[in-house]
């Protein structure tokens, strides 16, 4: 009876148990199809050749259900969904009208305003309603209808990528022709507006990148931009010389000293020297030139949208869902549209980087602005600020802390993108790293990885120091004191140039080490790492191999099979059921809508493989993360240490983690999963530590005074209170894992990421790339919605925040 009583007090638990039972029943009911749907192709073939009925009639379906089998239409949606356009055209339009009308009358009912002002007030709702109505009416409803009762063809969703492709092509080549003067044929010709716009945009962006790049490593393209190649042929002297690396190194040293002091200057200076000495100068400067353009653009765009969203709730409400999707879409899926509209090259890399780096900046700007206390704003207004002064002198500086976090995020994203952008022609460290990874040159990859990380950290610290600098108003500086650093830099420039000039006589092999150390002439530790890898493989080969095999055969393959053989109806039941338990009908519908989108595309099984990898990664990460976090938080020094470790690891661009794992496990799922685990353990650990550390001391004291020992305290006080925060950590873990799984496509997987990568090399890939990206985003958003809703409710119940 006791058990029943305690169960009665926990209706959610009871619901969850019931849900699990239904889920496993559905899993069991797959019956004869079980063996067939293990492999997607054979099943699809079987349906196509008529070996398996695609769908059965209503009575037959009931019979199958009664005999403990699922009717085929409930098992897999994609292969079994149908769309008969001619039959459902009239019903479609009817459905649209009905849905819009339902939405309108619902909102009319909600508010008691006159019908006249209603349209102007509700235009946003009207817009979303009609969009939803269109989507449901045109795509989902007929699909579902025919899926249950119709004949086998395809879902309309399968057509979407093609539609997107055509739309993009039309926009790019046909829409709004304008007359453009072509200097080559000396005549006007027709060209599409968008094409010309993106082209000129690309050109100016490329010019900027080249400009920065040539200041750093020299070149002729900037000169060409103002003259012509012919002019250059005639004037051989016209070459923009590179800054000698010694000058750049001293320059960073000076800059660091000016902004912060000796510590930063040493760090920045030594980083530059490291890059030069290891012969990574040219690629590093190429990457830097891209970052120096992309990062400021992202920061400015982010601040602009952040401020706009702060000023207008309408913009904020429109922007938020877009940001959610943008931040959960994998990097790769941005690349295809960028290539279609902007072509290939450094500018395309920069644009992709900006697209990816801006959302966190927008979000953090908005967050920072919202945190500004209303009294500070009032103080600004009472001091007579006009709206511009209020924004730039009060709001933005006061929200600086969060915005700097945003800048930090932007820099991290920029460098993380440096590798991914190399897929669409961005030169630099990322390209070399990709090459090294593909050639399995671990040592070189490591050196390149270290370069990227160092650049990231130096840029981050310099930008922080710049924002923190202090002015001195009363010291009467003379000319020398005021321009001390500029003068010093000029001196260094002279000295360095002189040194480079001397160097050109000093070194006999034609390479001037004082000017620029070429790619393969620097120091390298590659043999050492290679020897290390060889040694590991020599001495650990069999244990690594057997570990790998045991993991793959006993855990990974069965898990993958189980996921793949999950009937669609069971997946839906599980997710929507959890959604319902956590957040009621609303959450169930939201989660269901996300899933339905994925189910209606042709990549449901790939999504399942992605989910399997994410699940495995998240489970292991969360176990490790919470354990490590809990142990570390018991000791103050250990806490600080682990937070430092988390900070450091978070600075590394995600693909860095792929380097050591390939070294150990080669190109297998294990490698990707281990990289996922390392990467995703960071947030799990951090949030555990934060959650446990931020428990009100009075509660811990209350526990102590009640005579609880450490374990009792942990179980009864600390864990329950920290759990909502830890759940947010798990949420982050899922997102991190999802990203890493997708990036894992670089070393070969068979999930959604691989298809996104394939879309990249496909001329018609824009539609596929976007749809796949949305699939990944929706997996993330579904999990995010459930966990966030839960954590919010739980925190409210506990009265935290």
């Amino acid at each position: 009876m006791n058990y029943i009583d305690s169960l009665k007090q926990r209706p959610k638990l009871l619901q969850f148990v019931a849900l699990l039972i239904v889920f496993f029943l559905l899993m069991q009911m797959t019956g004869d199809y079980h063996s067939l749907i293990v492999e997607r192709d054979s099943f699809a073939k079987a349906v196509a050749s008529g070996e398996i009925e695609a769908s059965v009639g209503f009575t037959e379906a009931l019979g199958m259900l009664a005999s403990g089998q699922l009717p085929p239409q409930l098992i897999r949606i994609p292969e079994l969904s149908f769309y008969n356009l001619s039959a459902s055209l009239s019903s479609t339009s009817l459905l649209i009208v009905l849905a819009v009308f339902a939405g309108m009358s619902y909102y009319s009912h909600q508010t008691s305003i006159s019908k006249g002002s209603w349209v102007s007030k509700q235009y946003r709702h009207l817009f979303t309603n009609s969009l939803t109505a269109l989507l449901t009416g045109l795509l989902i409803m007929p699909t579902l209808f025919n899926w249950l009762f119709g004949a086998a063809t395809m879902t309309t969703f399968w057509e979407i990528p093609r539609l997107i492709n055509e739309l993009a092509e039309n926009l790019m080549y046909n829409w709004f022709p304008v007359e453009i003067y072509d200097p080559e044929i000396e005549d006007y010709e027709d060209s599409a507006l968008i094409k010309e716009l993106t082209r000129s945009f690309s050109r100016s962006l490329l010019f900027l990148i080249e400009l920065v790049r040539e200041i750093l490593v020299g070149g002729v393209k900037t000169i060409v931009a103002f003259t012509s190649w012919d002019w250059l042929e005639e004037n051989k002297w016209a070459y923009w010389p590179a800054l000698p690396w010694t000058v750049v190194a001293s320059g960073t040293f000076l800059l660091g000293y000016k902004l912060k002091g000796l510590g930063l200057s040493l760090f920045a200076g030594l980083t530059t020297i490291y890059i030069a000495a290891f012969g990574q100068w040219e690629p590093a400067m190429e990457t830097l030139s891209l970052v120096l353009i992309a990062a400021p653009v992202s920061v400015i765009l982010g601040m602009l949208w952040g401020v706009l969203a702060f000023k207008s709730t309408k913009i904020e409400k429109t922007l938020m869902p877009l940001l959610n999707i943008a931040q959960t879409m994998p990097h790769f899926s941005y690349l295809v549209p960028v290539v279609v509209f902007f072509g290939i090259g450094d500018h395309a890399g920069a644009i992709a980087t900006v697209i990816f780096a801006t959302p966190p900046m927008i979000r953090l700007t908005l967050l920072g602005l919202k945190k500004v206390s209303p009294e500070v704003i009032e103080a600004g207004m009472m001091n007579g600020c006009n709206s511009r002064q209020l924004l730039f002198k009060v709001l933005v500086p006061t929200a600086r802390r969060d915005m700097l976090l945003g800048v930090n995020q932007v820099i991290m994203q920029c460098l993380a993108m440096s590798v991914i952008a190399s897929y669409i022609g961005a030169k630099g460290l990322g390209f070399n790293l990709l090459l090294a990874l593909n050639q399995l040159r671990i040592g070189q990859a490591l050196e390149l990885g270290v370069c990227i990380v160092l650049i990231a950290v130096v840029l981050d610290k310099l930008s922080l120091a710049w924002a923190d600098r202090q002015m001195d108003y009363f010291s009467n500086l003379n000319f020398y004191e005021r321009y001390r650093y500029s003068i010093l830099f000029a001196a260094v420039l002279l000295l360095g140039s002189l040194l480079a000039y001397i160097g050109s006589f000093l070194f006999q092999d034609g390479i001037n080490y004082f000017y620029l150390i070429p790619h393969n002439k620097g120091m390298t530790t590659e043999p050492f790492w290679q020897a290390g890898v060889d040694w590991i493989i020599d001495s650990w080969f069999y244990s690594l191999k057997s570990f790998n095999e045991v993991l793959i055969i006993n855990i990974l393959i069965p898990m993958k099979t189980a996921y793949l053989s999950m009937p669609v109806i069971a997946t839906f039941t599980l997710f929507m059921g959890v959604g319902y338990i956590v957040g009621g009908a609303r959450s169930a519908i939201i989660v269901g809508a996300f899933l339905l989108f994925i189910a209606l595309t042709q990549w449901w099984d790939r999504a399942l493989i992605t989910m399997y990898m994410v699940t495995f990664g998240v489970i292991v990460s969360v176990i490790i993360g919470t354990l490590v976090g809990t142990i570390c938080v018991q000791n103050k020094a250990a806490t600080n240490f682990i937070l430092l470790v988390c900070d450091t690891f978070q600075t590394f661009p995600s693909f860095i983690y792929l380097i050591p794992v390939i070294m150990l496990f080669g190109i297998t799922d294990t490698s990707v999963l281990i990289a996922v685990i390392i990467y995703a353990t960071i947030p799990a650990t951090r949030y555990t530590v934060e959650g446990l550390r931020n428990i009100p001391p009075s509660l811990i004291e209350a526990g102590l005074m009640s005579g609880a020992n450490r374990i009792q305290r942990l179980i009864n006080i600390e864990f329950p209170l920290a759990f909502p925060h830890i759940m947010l950590g798990i949420n982050q873990t899922v997102i991190f894992a999802l990203f890493m799984v997708i990036i894992g496509a670089m070393i070969g997987t068979d999930d959604l990421g691989q298809f996104i990568l394939k879309a990249l090399s496909d001329k018609q890939g824009i539609g596929n790339g976007l749809m796949l990206g949305l699939c990944v985003a929706f997996i993330g958003l579904a999990v995010d919605h459930i966990i966030n809703t839960w954590a919010k409710k739980r925190k409210q119940t506990l009265g935290i925040e």
Binding site: V376, M382, N383, G384, V394, T398
Partner: protein, 350 residues
């Protein structure tokens, strides 16, 4: 404070009502404000029909508990929030009709405000914070810094000009807030619970400091507080608010002696009168007493009772009360003082 003088601040029938459907309800009543109906419609009434005047050099303290609408009233007058209905005149100009530009000019030159949570800009040093309004106004950096240094001296923060707000104690931060609000030499000084976030000892110290400043500067002040003692200590006149309504507006002595409503009486019940009342409010008519009947010791009529009580009690004869021109205007008897010191409370409690 003659009534012929033009008031610096003048409010008449001021209303501030929160709620999305406020305008609809008011429109339905042809612009007339019906507070009960508004409350029924789910609106929150912040300020309810407030009318008062503040004269030059006068300090009006608005006292009320949290949610009484006192801060809202202040924000209406400084036009930090929009007013639902009513009129506000500053030096005769209706500020509700001012354009944004005029308003900015007014704030840059005429108004200063101190905030409860100090509202200092965290990224600026003490010096930069204080010079902020000057720079906003367009003063040159050198000029602004010079003036800011003067203000730093005024509020006794010399040596801390390059500190950031986070490096200062609460009391010091509020000194910076005060200095900033005074930097443009405003005529009107708004203070929104300036000392509420401070410890009691510091609060006392800051109140003394504030009185010292006001004695030197003679600003027209609107001071908001929830602390009745503070109001009594500082005010020329006190306005007591409850649920958006000004229950009573009068001098401290009159509020203590003649509370207008039951609500005001609750506040005044426990107030030690001898610490609040001046001699003039308890002295008796001189009647037929002659010089000889009075003691040699004389008390000024505006002295607080407590400060002279010991002296008065040690005299055997009644004490003469004199005004500023040294004319005898009344007498003070021992038994009045004793009654004031010991008897009143028992009477009040009984």
């Amino acid at each position: 404070m003659s009534t012929t003088q033009q008031p610096v601040i003048k409010c008449s029938s001021l209303y501030k009502i929160f709620g999305d459907n406020t305008q609809q309800v008011i429109q339905k009543n042809d612009g007339k404000i019906d507070v009960t109906e508004l409350r029924e419609a789910g609106c929150v009434v912040g300020v309810n029909d407030a009318s008062f005047e503040v004269y030059e050099g006068e300090m009006l303290v608005v006292m009320g508990l949290s949610g009484s609408g006192k801060s809202t009233l202040l924000r209406c007058i400084s036009r930090l929030t929009d007013t639902t209905a009513g009129e506000i005149f500053i030096n005769g100009d209706n500020i509700l009709e001012m354009s944004a530009k005029e308003l900015i000019e007014l704030r840059r030159n005429k108004m200063g405000m101190v905030f409860q949570s100090f509202a200092l800009l965290p990224h600026k040093t003490v010096l930069e914070n204080i010079s902020f309004p000057l720079q906003i106004k367009g003063h040159s950096t050198k000029d602004a810094m010079q003036r800011a240094m003067d203000m730093i001296k005024l509020v006794d923060l010399t040596g801390r000009e390059n500190y950031y707000p986070r490096q200062l104690s609460g009391g010091q931060q509020q000194r910076v807030g005060i200095a900033r609000s005074l930097a443009v030499e405003p005529d009107i000084w708004f203070l929104d619970e300036p000392f509420s976030a401070l410890d009691p000892l510091i609060r006392k110290e800051m109140q003394d400091e504030f009185l010292r400043l006001q004695a030197a500067l003679h600003k027209t002040i609107l001071f908001v507080t929830h602390d009745f003692d503070e109001a009594l200590r500082l005010a020329d006149r006190i306005a007591i608010m409850k649920d958006g309504v000004i229950e009573q507006i009068d001098t401290p002595a009159n509020i203590v002696l003649n509370p207008a409503t039951e609500y005001v009486r609750k506040f005044t019940a426990d107030v030690p009168r001898e610490k609040v009342l001046k001699i003039e409010s308890v002295m008796e008519e001189i009647g037929n007493l002659t010089e000889a009947d009075l003691s040699d010791f004389q008390v000024p009529c505006d002295a607080i009772i407590e400060t002279v009580a010991e002296k008065v009690l040690s005299e055997s004869k009644p004490v003469a009360v004199v005004d500023q021109q040294n004319n005898i205007v009344g007498v003070l008897n021992c038994h009045t003082v004793i009654h004031m010191l010991f008897g009143e409370n028992q009477v009040a409690n009984a």
